[in-house]
């Protein structure tokens, strides 16, 4: 390039000019971008390191089998009831929302995608997906706690269901729509009724995507605290679905400002368990997603 420049002075200068303002500006902006990206990773690692550092020491069989300690018990105790409570309430929510969400998604994606009600339902689901999680709690309080006369695991499950429904519905609709049109045509061409083409051909093909959505919704619900605060509240005893029920998330919240070092340690340990659970669920959903894309 140097030769060119020397031989033919008429030609424009094509050499790199590292100190020209435009180049400096580019370098500056790139640096800022890189710094931002690195900074954004810091919280994740900081959280993970702290969870392992402060909660890791409590990982033992006792953590998973024992009930929480009282404020005056200086060591020992576990979070077994919170783990079971979280699984139980998320389970209830999943039982409600999976059939609900998938059936509605079938209507939205296939049976009546252009109908008025489908448009409104799609809009409702999108709106609900942006609902503050505490509102789901307020709603469950209004319909469950007030009518049943007390806090219960059922009320907690309903609150979580309100949060899970839009995720499941919208992802199921997306995946059902993504089943190739020629598969649906083949089913209809064979003389399937609309529901036969759904259950025999389309749903089996959309299943991995639907599961991905369900797993993501479960992962999100498992970490939710706000909807449980005044529906299931908390309990130091073993699971009793008609009574207040413990959950990992509320346990972390309740113990986070405890003066008992023992309970605080358990809050960290419970956070570790919760985050590991949520990450595993996320990995599973990614794994299913990536497997089907091939």
């Amino acid at each position: 390039m140097n030769e060119t420049k020397n031989d033919l002075l008429q030609l424009p200068n094509l050499e790199r000019q590292p100190f020209e303002p435009r180049a400096l500006k580019s370098i500056l902006l790139s640096t800022i971008t890189i710094i931002c990206a690195v900074l954004a990773c810091v919280p994740l690692f900081s959280v993970l390191v702290m969870l392992i550092y402060r909660g890791g020491s409590r990982i033992s069989l006792e953590l998973f089998t024992a009930l929480p300690p009282t404020a005056f018990q200086f060591d020992g105790g576990g979070i077994s009831n919170a783990i079971i409570g979280t699984l139980f309430m998320v389970g209830i929510a999943a039982l409600i929302t999976i059939p609900f969400g998938v059936l509605a998604a079938i209507y939205l994606a296939e049976l009546g995608p252009y109908s008025k009600v489908a448009t409104i339902a799609r809009f409702s689901a999108k709106t609900m997906s942006g609902l503050p999680s505490i509102i789901a709690g307020v709603f469950a309080y209004a319909i469950m706690v007030i009518t049943m006369g007390g806090y219960s695991a059922w009320a907690g499950g309903v609150a979580l269901a309100v949060l899970m429904l839009p995720t499941i519905l919208l992802t199921a609709e997306e995946t059902i729509k993504m089943v190739p049109k020629r598969m649906k045509e083949a089913a209809f061409g064979m003389g399937c009724t609309p529901s036969q083409s759904m259950t025999k051909v389309v749903l089996p093909m959309a299943l991995p995507g639907i599961i991905t959505g369900v797993v993501l919704a479960v992962a999100r619900a498992a970490g939710e605290t706000a909807p449980l605060l005044f529906t299931a509240i908390f309990s130091e005893y073993a699971l009793e679905p008609n009574d207040p029920t413990a959950s990992l998330a509320v346990l972390i919240y309740n113990y986070s400002n405890s003066t008992s070092e023992n309970q605080l340690e358990l809050a960290w340990a419970a956070s570790l368990v919760l985050v590991v659970l949520v990450f595993i669920l996320n990995m599973v959903s990614r794994w299913i997603g990536s497997r089907t894309r091939k």
């Binding site: 580019s26 609900f100 059936l103 509605a104 999108k126 942006g130 503050p132 509102i135 307020v138 709603f139």
Partner: protein
Amino acid sequence: MAAENREESILPHAETLAAPPTTVDKIFDKCFRTLTLVFTWATVLLLAFIVFRIGGQALPAIKEYGLGLLVSSDWDVNNNQFGIWPQIWGTLYSSLLALVLGGFFGITIAIFLTQDFLPHKLEIILKNIVELLAAIPSVVYGLWGIYVLIPILQPTADKLHSSFGWFPLFSTSFSGFGMFSAALVLSIMILPTIAAISQDALRAVPGKTKEAAFGMGTTRWEAILRVILPTASGGISGALVLGLGRALGETMALAMLVGNSATVSLSLFSPASTLAALLALNFPEADLNQTGVLMYAACTLLLITLVVNMLGTLIISTTTTKGGER
């Protein structure tokens, strides 16, 4: 029934194995279709029911206190005096602060991830890290905020207050729990949302637009700032609005970090309160009258987030359909 018989007699099946759908098939089809329609309606009704129930519970309080509750700052349970202006202020202020921070980081990361700065493998790793940020439950962020973030912020905040105390943003001393810690954690929590939707918007910029810019002799950053970002601006504003929606409704991290004091202050270091935190803290112990007021607060929060989210969805859907027509 008559129709079915007639049909069978006319479509012959002497030599064919084809049979018309059986009655069982037809009933199943009918039931299945009806069921899907029922659940579709149920989705609509659920949202309506949520709004209706919360609104219904709030109605007595709305009647009693009127709009005055929204602008009053008194909260005296014994005298039945209620006002949620500090909470509304705190919700909006913390969310906007978080939006400024989270928006800046989120968009920058979206640019970083979409404009070929990194080898593909690293791009995927970084993308996953950002997505995992969204997976961490907010209560864990709250715990982390209390025991990790606040101690780190303390010295800097103290220095800022002592040197720049005259500046409204730093006018109160830092007690740890307060607007700044809360908004910082909040920005981490909304960053993944903003980054993800902005990435979609940036990826949707047609390759030919980019090529045109490079063809004109722009540097990479000139292309990004002058051509690509403006083209994706619709989607990015949608991302910001949806991020704001998420910040407005976020509860736990704020309830744990914001200090929960009904204060209206511009200072970053002052403790504050938000609507969601108010609900979280007061609901379990509320009596009937107070429940009404809290439902009123819930309604206010619902209204604010609904408007913001609808706006975001609208922005994204209008800009994407426009892109489709192009």
